[in-house]
């Protein structure tokens, strides 16, 4: 019991530290990459190549006034950023970063905990964070924030169904709810090639789920100033921001695990540490893809978002689940 606890504490500490650094530098990476897409230079003032920019931003945010509007619901207003951020971090508990390997004479899995219903856990946890955003919008007592919150809940509901069904196809194909099992089931080929439709649906719904462009109409600046974020300042704002970027990493990690073979790659059985490298590379590639899409596509309209979710993605994913089920039943 005690060694297990110590292991879990060490692993989660490392995980949270990595995520926070990852978040900080992802903001810089996104700004730099978008600058490249727009033939600009991007942040280059703080430190060489702007490498200290995240630090400068953090210091700035700490010293900003922490403002709570007079008619806001104080308790919910304070709680909302936490409800958004914590589930975003919790997802990483079941994601395998690498295969089993021996570290300092201690055999361990590069995964915080290998729950046997890991997929269910992921689906459950991701749904919580929408509460944070909707509550933030409601607690702010601000029209823009409320509209942002409403949009967020509508968007999440329309896309979570299709996303869940895409995950169901994955579970049907691999025959396991254990996340490490899904990765191991991809030894003979990534699920991306076996379930291309599910992969595409998962990616699109994922973009909507984490509110990335072109589905960022929850915080559409032109219409809603900043949506649910409007009344937030200082570190509360930073928590939302952090949640958004951690979700971006989290979603890429999920996509990698479900469809891109997770940590699997050549020679990974001989050198287990390579698994981490493959995993990081795949996640980085997906994040690049998301930034690329952000730099390219304009935001879609609210009704288009709804129509795409309910009339295109949901039937497609349903059909995909049906087809997968039939094939699995016939081959079993």
């Amino acid at each position: 019991m005690v060694p297990f606890l110590v292991e879990a504490i060490i692993k989660s500490a490392i995980l949270v530290l990595l995520l926070l650094t990852g978040f900080a530098y992802l903001t810089l990476a996104e700004r730099k990459l978008v600058a490249d897409f727009q033939a600009r230079i991007g942040p280059n003032r703080a430190g060489p190549y702007g490498l200290l920019q995240p630090l400068a931003d953090a210091v700035k945010l700490f010293f900003k006034e922490d403002f709570i509007p007079e008619y806001a619901d104080r308790a919910l207003f304070v709680l909302a950023p936490l409800i958004t951020l914590i589930p975003a971090i919790l997802i990483f508990a079941v994601i395998p970063f690498g295969p089993e390997l021996t570290l300092f004479g201690y055999r361990t899995r590069l995964q915080l905990t290998d729950v046997n219903v890991g997929v269910l856990y992921i689906v459950a946890i991701t749904s919580i964070s929408v509460y944070g955003i909707t509550l933030a919008g409601w607690a702010s007592n601000n029209k823009y924030a409320l509209l942002g919150g409403i949009r967020a809940s509508a968007q999440m509901i329309s896309y979570e169904l299709a996303m869940g069904l895409a995950i169901v196809s994955v579970v049907l194909t691999t025959g396991t709810l254990q996340v490490s099992g899904i990765v191991e089931a991809q030894r003979n080929g990534w699920l991306l090639f076996l379930q291309p439709l599910a992969a595409i649906i998962f990616f699109i719904t994922g973009l909507a789920e984490i509110k990335r462009a072109p589905f960022d109409l929850v915080e559409a600046e032109q219409e809603l100033t900043a949506g649910y974020l409007t009344e937030y300042s200082s570190m509360k704002f930073a928590l939302f921001f952090m949640a958004e970027y951690v979700k971006m990493i989290g979603f890429s990690a999920l996509m990698t695990t479900f469809f891109l073979g997770g940590y699997l790659g050549p020679f990974v059985d001989h050198y287990p540490a390579l698994g981490v490298v493959y995993f990081t590379l795949k996640v980085a590639l997906l994040i690049f893809l998301m930034i690329w899409i952000r730099a390219t596509l304009p935001r879609i309209r609210y009704d288009q978002l709804m129509a795409l979710g309910w009339k295109v993605l949901l039937p497609l994913s349903l059909a995909n689940v049906m087809g997968t089920a039939v094939v699995v039943a016939l081959t079993a």
């Binding site: 990459l33 600058a35 490249d36 897409f37 727009q38 033939a39 600009r40 230079i41 280059n44 690329w292 899409i293 730099a295 390219t296 596509l297």
Partner: protein
């Protein structure tokens, strides 16, 4: 619709590769300034002859040519003891309101002595409207090195009538 999505992505990817190969099209401004065109028209200056005399004779043709009414000139009489420019008169007051100026360069064209010239310097920023009215002292370039400024004492009598200085007409510093 899907094809358009990929076409858009292809366009931005090309831009991305271009930026990484050839560098961005923007400049890190305070350190690297964008090269100006040869005929860029910036803030004005009033020039001198090589002997230090001012070119401006206070004729106010620039003020007349100015479409924005940005130039104010008040002429003063040159005397033998206090000579600022060749000829009878010089610009006692010469002011340009940079907020009115449209940097068209008509003043430059109108000037009979090539006194007012638009340089390639970018007009400065300021905190007050008054700070944008540049006076003669700010506009006038310093005399060439080793040459006295104005006013000077007239030694060549032809300077009394000739409004354009030529090599050979000598003057003496006060």
């Amino acid at each position: 619709m899907v094809m358009e999505l990929f076409r858009g992505l292809w366009t931005t990817l090309q831009e991305f590769v271009q930026t990484n190969l050839r560098g961005p099209v923007t400049y890190p401004y305070p350190e690297v300034k964008r090269p100006l065109r040869v005929r860029f028209k910036g803030v004005h200056e009033l020039r001198r002859y090589s002997n230090g005399l001012e070119r401006c004779i206070g004729c106010a043709l620039c003020a007349a040519a100015c479409p924005a009414d940005a130039i104010y000139v008040e002429a003063g009489e040159n005397t033998d003891e206090e000579r600022y420019s060749p000829g009878e008169r010089y610009a006692k007051v010469y002011e340009i309101n940079l907020l009115r100026c449209i940097f068209c360069g008509y003043c430059e064209d109108a000037c009979p002595t090539n006194a007012i010239v638009l340089t390639d310097k970018i007009p400065p920023a300021g905190y007050t409207r008054e700070s944008f009215i540049v006076t003669k002292a700010q506009l006038l370039v310093p005399p060439p090195p080793g040459v006295p400024g104005t006013p000077q004492r007239t030694t060549d009598p032809s300077l009394r009538t000739r409004s354009i200085w030529e090599e050979g007409l000598v003057n003496e510093p006060i």
